[in-house]
Symmetry: C2
Subunit: 541 residues, 2 copies
């Protein structure tokens, strides 16, 4: 459990399973961005972790709460908990002085978490609640604010299913259970949570709830915050148990203050999530639109005509081209082949749709969807393309590692806005990235997709690849990030649709909720965590 | 505009259109509860309103904000704003000393509301935000807390459509617009809000948002709190504009602190709601189940198999019997006839389902529903029964007036819990009401239905009719209300699913959110309204 990852901390998956870039992909990147350079992270053997700043007495106090075996100051363990997977995290963690918390503590119960918060308050030690450690916005960076020391609190020992109720269709779990484990346990009973963010392999349920994550099939299954029925939270002011019924009008929904609070108000120690029956069947399908505009219109009409799929994703022309060039061979071959046969001109946009349910439901819902798709010029690329996407749906972070190893900057940004505002938002973010990441005479490669559709709009997910400036990597990134965030804010869109705020977006939260909103959040913080023990620096600037 | 209701304030609708009780209904009530007595409210001509406690100077200050014509101390106007439509309100308002606020003020803009809050803070005058005045939980009772005077702020002059966006499928409105007006304006553009609470004829949109109301077709259209995209709020600490995108992970969703806050944190001055295309077709249908258990099982399975209708409602045996006896003649005749033909035994339960959409969608969705219904022994009673229900869907409050005029106590209670807990909850609430409202040797008549289904449970709506004790009407009711609330709390259910907290449920809010939750709400109140100007006594005990 302790030190569960045998890979180096700077990589998403095991270093034994790198994703190689094919020659085609290599040539594509060289043409679009610039040539690859071999730039591996500094190996663990050449690194040392910063010394733990905990005194023996402090360590003993922590041990008295959770037991000596559940407090680790081991360098490997601390380095693994030295941050998440944001670009900034990775730049630091791949470098020669990676950060690390002063200890990693593994409580086994709500009561221990509650006591730990009390002890850390007395000792003035900051706590970073460390879920799966998959934050891409600096949400788990080991920063202690004004405190001298900071510990990561990890939840591998609070990862049990506490209750399973197939009448109410809920499961109650400890925060540390990961998606794959929960899906396996639910699967044997014919159930599913249906929440598949790209971080699924490593993220845990407490993290889902603390960050309002959204899964790839959110159109059909909802966002994680919609799945949370009840939460139990340990705070410096004591325990909260919130969520009394499937629906309620008993005052403001206080759950929503903790969901999305990223650990700054309290630590979620139990979550009751609604579950679904596993669909008997699935149908994933690739579709080609003649243009981005036609795809966007089709997505919008599908929603307003209640003709949605459970998974809906529309790539822009750049992402379409990239996918068709770089994607897994099976998908590429099939898609390219059909695509070329259809002799579509440049600008075609690839979409993936997934319908789930019993065969009759899939059939009638797919018919409804296709009624809209056809009127917007869509052509089916068949199941193989859809299945290819599903097969590689979690491969993004692995591919990012490979690109980082090859001298590229690669970053993803996401936001959300109304249907009407989406095209301009895409242009604005693209322009911001292009103007700030041009390097050695070459523009960055910016591509995006629309996913997570709502009745009133959707989420825009942007990927940018450029040559990395290894002399000044942080500034190079920060300049681009600032420009993109400013563009998002100027367009009236949300600063984050599902990556959360963390430390990287904190400066833009005021644009989102106003100075009154910041004051209100600070008042809640003052009420719940007056010593600012919990995740200082995250969320609130 | 001012004094828009020409009826006496104690009645839901115009006194010209009373709902008469048929002889059958009269006999039914006499048998089940006791004989009717003629007990009309005291007529307006025999009443005087309490004198306004505002000084001339105070009135002038209010007038300086909204204009002289928009401050009324007219007795009729004040009496009309003397409360909502809770049983307690009605007992008071039908009696000889009905309450009234010291003035009714009609702002015309956000800025005026903001200024009004400031002036009232200086003058120590409490504000009751008065939406449609349809609260059935004492949410708009003119109580000023520790302040000497209290005004009702009404929104008839902030009832415009401010923006209509058929790309984003949203409408932005002032808080004062009512359901019928909005539906008419949306209807000419082929759109609908789809929110039809029983209070629809009078309630307004600001009230929906402030109380987390839920409409009869919530299974298909969602709760009102799910429809709110953006809100603008005036508070003593200034303006909030919340809701930046259809989906967001930018920290806690602060909208949810104001939605459901019942005016104690601020006054909602603009609401952006998502809208839907008007369905091309509707199919409402009556269905008979052999038992309550089979109906409950069918409802649960419909949800978990994604085979729901947009409107779903299951009456228990008592409500079934009542509906078949007392309901509008068309429905009764048809239903009874079919019912008897089917020779079902006692205990059969009536359900109403409504599917909306295009014909193909209705057809395939209804087929899916019926696959579940059939396996649970359901028999169709046909469209006529369904249409009969739809036709009389807003008649409840009128019928209540008639029952009050006939010497009965009639009250409705609603709650929500998980599927597993619903049967026991129903028994517990029924027992609580039976044991406290037995009178002159006769039990009250308690009936309920299940509606507002969720994936994990549903709402239980209970109606109770008993003989009214005119000597001690408040205590008679309070004893029963307390017992019912205690039963709800003891069962772990929510104290309110859609009626909200108001003043009548405030004592039970702690059971819902814990003492920590109350402290947190108080901290927010302290931050936003330290002088306790806004709706004192509502929500927080």
């Amino acid at each position: 459990m302790i030190g569960r990852y045998d890979e180096v901390s700077a990589r998403w998956g095991s270093p034994d399973k790198p994703i190689a870039i094919s020659d085609t992909a290599r040539a594509f990147l060289a043409e679009k961005v610039g040539p690859a350079r071999t730039t591996p992270p500094i190996p663990r053997t050449k690194l040392s972790a910063p010394a733990s700043r905990l005194s023996d007495d402090q360590r003993a106090r922590l041990q008295s709460v959770v037991g000596p075996q559940n407090v680790s100051i081991d360098d490997d363990v601390r380095l693994i908990h030295g941050g998440g997977f944001s670009y900034l995290d990775l730049v630091e963690r791949r470098g020669d002085s990676p950060p690390a918390p002063d200890a990693v503590v593994y409580p086994t119960s709500h009561e221990q978490v509650q006591e730990l918060i009390g002890v850390c308050g007395q000792l003035k030690i900051a706590i970073v609640p460390f879920g799966g450690g998959t934050s891409v916005v600096g949400g788990v960076r080991p920063e202690g604010g004004t405190h001298d020391a900071v510990i990561a609190v990890a939840f591998e020992q609070m990862a049990d299913v506490l209750a399973f109720d197939e009448v109410n269709m809920t499961v109650t779990v400890g925060p540390g259970i990961t998606g794959p484990t929960l899906e396996r346990l639910l699967g044997v009973r014919g159930m599913t949570l249906g929440h598949f963010p790209q971080s699924w392999e490593r993220a845990n349920i407490g993290g889902y709830a603390a960050t309002r994550s959204s899964g790839q099939a959110s159109a059909g299954y909802g966002r994680s915050d919609e799945m949370v029925e009840k939460i139990r939270v340990a705070t410096p002011r004591g325990e909260f148990r919130l969520g009394r019924a499937p629906g309620s009008a008993a005052g403001p929904d206080l759950r929503q203050l903790f969901i999305g609070s990223e650990g700054i108000f309290g630590i979620i120690t139990e979550v009751t999530m609604r579950i679904r029956r596993q669909p008997r069947d699935k149908r994933y399908e690739g579709v080609m639109f003649p243009s981005y505009e036609s795809g966007l219109r089709a997505f919008r009409e599908m929603v307003s005509r209640r003709a949605t799929a459970d998974m809906m994703r529309l790539s822009d022309p750049q992402e379409t081209l990239t996918n068709l060039t770089m994607a897994a061979d099976g998908m590429k071959a099939a898609a390219l082949d059909r695509y070329l046969k259809l002799r579509r001109v440049d600008g075609g946009c690839l979409a993936i749709f997934g319908w789930e349910g019993n065969r009759t439901q899939i059939g009638s819902r797919r018919d409804e969807s296709w009624r809209v798709l056809r009127t917007n010029g869509a052509v089916s690329l068949g199941k193989q393309v859809g299945n290819g996407w599903e097969h590689s749906r979690f491969s993004g972070p692995y591919l990012r590692d490979t690109l980082l190893d090859n001298g590229y900057l690669v970053e993803t940004l996401e936001t959300c806005t109304g249907w009407r505002e989406l095209p301009e938002l895409r242009t604005a973010v693209t322009d911001a990235l292009r103007s700030t990441l041009r390097r050695n005479g070459t523009d960055p490669w910016v591509m995006s997709h629309l996913s997570h559709v709502y009745e009133t709009g959707g989420s825009l997910y942007v990927t940018v690849i450029s040559q990395r400036d290894d002399e000044d990597a942080v500034n190079q990134w920060q300049k681009a990030k600032d420009a993109a965030c400013e563009a998002i804010v100027a367009q009236g869109a949300t600063i984050t649709h599902h990556h959360a705020v963390g430390r990287d977006h904190a400066r833009w939260l005021e644009a989102e909720v106003g100075s009154q909103g910041i004051d209100l959040l600070r008042a809640v913080k003052q009420e719940l965590d007056p010593e600012n023990i919990l995740n200082p620096g995250a969320l609130l600037p």
